[in-house]
């Protein structure tokens, strides 16, 4: 803590800075996705698909209406980035699974977020660890809904 003697920021300043970082990262993500002909929403869905996930679960994760997910998955399925599979234990649910192509494309999108990667590379190990610890402190409160 000797190298930097930061002046205390007002809460508003911190809030605005956080917003700026957030939008910058979002733009980086959207741009990388667009590179592969994906909308940011489609990329977001792919990013969630580590394992099979019911439509409803997807809607919950995206915090949107289930009917919305239908269309998004339709378009992803048309490009064979995703598949709908019947759930063996409940015939109502359809599990969405990423295809190999889908996994590959989202991997590349993450890789190509150059602005974000570049920014994180400017931090040394200690700084990264500090930032990580601070953000992790914020996370639980931030993710509580109103």
């Amino acid at each position: 803590m000797s190298a930097t003697t930061p002046t205390a920021p007002t809460k508003l300043e911190l809030l605005e800075l956080l917003a700026a970082i957030g939008t910058a990262q979002w733009r980086d993500f959207a741009a990388a996705a667009a590179h592969y002909g994906l909308t940011s929403t489609q990329a977001r869905v792919l990013a969630q698909l580590n394992g099979p996930l019911p439509m409803r679960g997807l809607a919950t994760l995206l915090v949107c209406d289930a009917s919305n997910v239908t269309g998004i998955v339709d378009r992803l399925e048309a490009r064979e980035l995703v598949r709908r599979e019947a759930d063996p234990s409940d015939r109502r649910v359809k599990n969405v699974v990423a295809t190999d192509a889908g996994r590959e494309i989202i991997r590349r999108v993450r890789e190509e977020m150059q602005a974000t990667h570049g920014a994180l590379d400017t931090l040394d190990e200690t700084e990264s660890a500090t930032l990580y610890a601070l953000l992790e402190r914020l996370r639980p409160t931030m993710e509580k809904d109103a």
Copy 2:
């Protein structure tokens, strides 16, 4: 640096955490905006309007097509949150200005981002300052376009 002895996070972990914080904040903002019948885009426009701003400048800030801004400002103007004024020095440009109601509503939106406020309140002054300094280091690189 004694209270916390953070284990070094991988870059991927840090990236994901940053993304999580970003989307949490975005949701908080969108929810607060919805409270006042604003879409997140409309709220974003209001947030930019500190002074008069030409349509084109707004489009640049939002990183979107100018034709898009026409519709957004139309809807804001219909609700009298915003006004189009002729520019005295260039009759092509229309400057967008927030009305009193517009300024008031965006002020309240910011106030009501409870998740974000709550999260930031968990940091003491030193931590805030550290976070601020780190994020400010990231900012310039993050905002560089690809």
